[in-house]
């Protein structure tokens, strides 16, 4: 593992020394050996603090949205999930490909449940690739949890989701960790439009949960960051993956973030779409 870490440090150091990027986003150590935190290296010497181990779990792509108009290119270590997030943000017109320098680092599987769902370890888009692509592990059954909930009766389902949204504390970590959530101002922060109250009640939490799933469902890249970020361990992906399962059934194989130009399901239509409203 350490020679890969060394390669990362060297490539970051070289980029910063050549002045090709303003700063490089990677992982750094924390007080605890089994946790890493995103670091923003802006000097060649700083590259020494880069870390690469099985605990480099955070997805780094969303930080690009904090600096959408950089003076110089931004360096970003990109695994499969980062590259899909970058494709997503490019398609959503939030980030320009030319303002990024993507350092491809094929992923070897990290110590988080979100990696269970991983279907693409290798970066789909990069400027340089530091080592050979990794073989993709057989991903867990994509819609297993969704089928579990679907099997319940309406009341059971309501009790299940009701229990989940009783525990939601509306900290919006799921929204702020999600690369698809790139609005300038979230609808939930705008009390005036009246879609949603600020009140922490089960019904307001439910409405936030379903609304966010509806907003991101047809563009979700299934990176699992939302569930990893949730302090209360709520099954947030259970909602977005229901959307993806339905889209798969309605219009065939559907996966997001694999490229930077295909339209999202709700952004287009087919004349012979399935219709049950006759």
């Amino acid at each position: 593992m350490s020679d890969r870490q060394e390669k990362m440090r060297q490539s970051a150091e070289k980029l910063l020394r050549d002045g090709e990027v303003g700063y490089v986003i990677g992982w750094g150590a924390t007080r605890f050996c089994d946790r890493t935190t995103p670091v923003f290296i802006d000097s060649p010497e700083g590259a020494a603090s880069l870390v690469w181990n099985e605990h480099a779990v955070n997805s780094l792509a969303k930080y690009l949205l904090d600096d959408k108009y950089p003076d110089k290119k931004i360096g970003l270590f990109a695994r499969g999930c980062e590259s899909r997030a970058v494709n997503r943000m490019i398609k959503d017109n939030q980030v320009k490909r030319e303002s990024l320098y993507l350092i491809g680092v094929p992923c070897d599987g990290k110590s988080s449940d979100r990696c269970r769902l991983c279907r693409e370890r290798n970066p789909l888009v990069y400027d340089v690739l530091l080592w050979e692509p990794e073989a993709n592990a057989a991903p867990a059954d994509r819609f297993e949890r969704v089928r579990g909930v679907e099997a319940m009766s309406p009341d059971e389902r309501y009790r299940y989701w009701g229990g989940v949204y009783d525990r939601c504390i509306r900290c919006y970590a799921c929204r702020n960790a999600c690369p698809v959530c790139s609005c300038r101002e979230c609808y939930v922060d705008m009390g005036r439009t009246g879609f949603q109250g600020k009140q922490h009640s089960r019904s307001d939490n439910q409405i936030f949960g379903v609304t966010r799933a509806f907003h991101v469902g047809d563009r979700c890249i299934e990176c699992g960051e939302c569930e990893r970020a949730c302090p209360m361990g709520l099954p947030i992906m259970g909602q977005t993956q229901k959307m993806l399962k339905e889209i798969n059934e309605l219009s065939g194989e559907y996966e997001c973030g694999l490229d930077a130009d295909s339209d999202s399901f709700l952004g287009r239509f087919d004349l012979d779409d399935k219709d049950e409203f006759m």
Partner: protein
């Protein structure tokens, strides 16, 4: 005396101005009769109906929600209802996935000349909701019954 005897469901129907609203007016012109439960909210096109309105309607107290528009191909704005179709094919499933009883949300294509279809749809939905009873879901404070105001800190 079934639980829902004398219960009058409250139903909101988002109707597109060019087709279903016209059909509803036509039902009026022909003096057709249908139950009083459905209140029509006029929208320029069924494509204007934001799926979040449905969540809001259930939260605020509606027992049933309908979204009605032109038949695909007849939309006054040519493609509005194609988007409606996709949006509500998904939202209908999301609602049921989250526990809303399957009979509570309906989307239907009703054209300007299908006055009878409007009457029959309204009658059918009202009857079905009368049997389903009032909607208690999506309206609770935190834990069932735990009122944030009185003691126990609403946890």
């Amino acid at each position: 005396m079934s639980l829902t005897e004398g219960f009058e469901p409250k139903i909101i129907a988002f109707c597109c101005n060019w087709c279903t609203y016209t059909g509803a007016d036509l039902a009026g012109l022909n003096r057709m009769k249908y139950p009083e439960n459905v209140h029509v909210a006029r929208v320029p096109c069924s494509g204007r109906v934001n799926p979040q309105f449905i969540l809001r309607a259930f939260q605020k107290g509606c027992d049933g929600v309908m979204v009605c528009g032109c038949h695909p191909g007849d939309c006054h704005y040519s493609t509005g209802n194609y988007f409606t179709r996709r949006r509500f094919m998904l939202m209908k499933r999301m609602l049921e996935y989250n526990g809303i009883d399957p009979g509570r949300f309906h989307a239907r294509w009703i054209s300007g000349s299908e006055a009878a279809k409007f009457r029959d749809t309204v009658a059918e939905v009202s009857e079905r909701l009368r049997k389903l009873g009032p909607n208690t879901k999506y309206r609770e404070a935190l834990r069932e019954g735990a009122d944030a105001g009185k003691g126990g800190a609403g946890i």
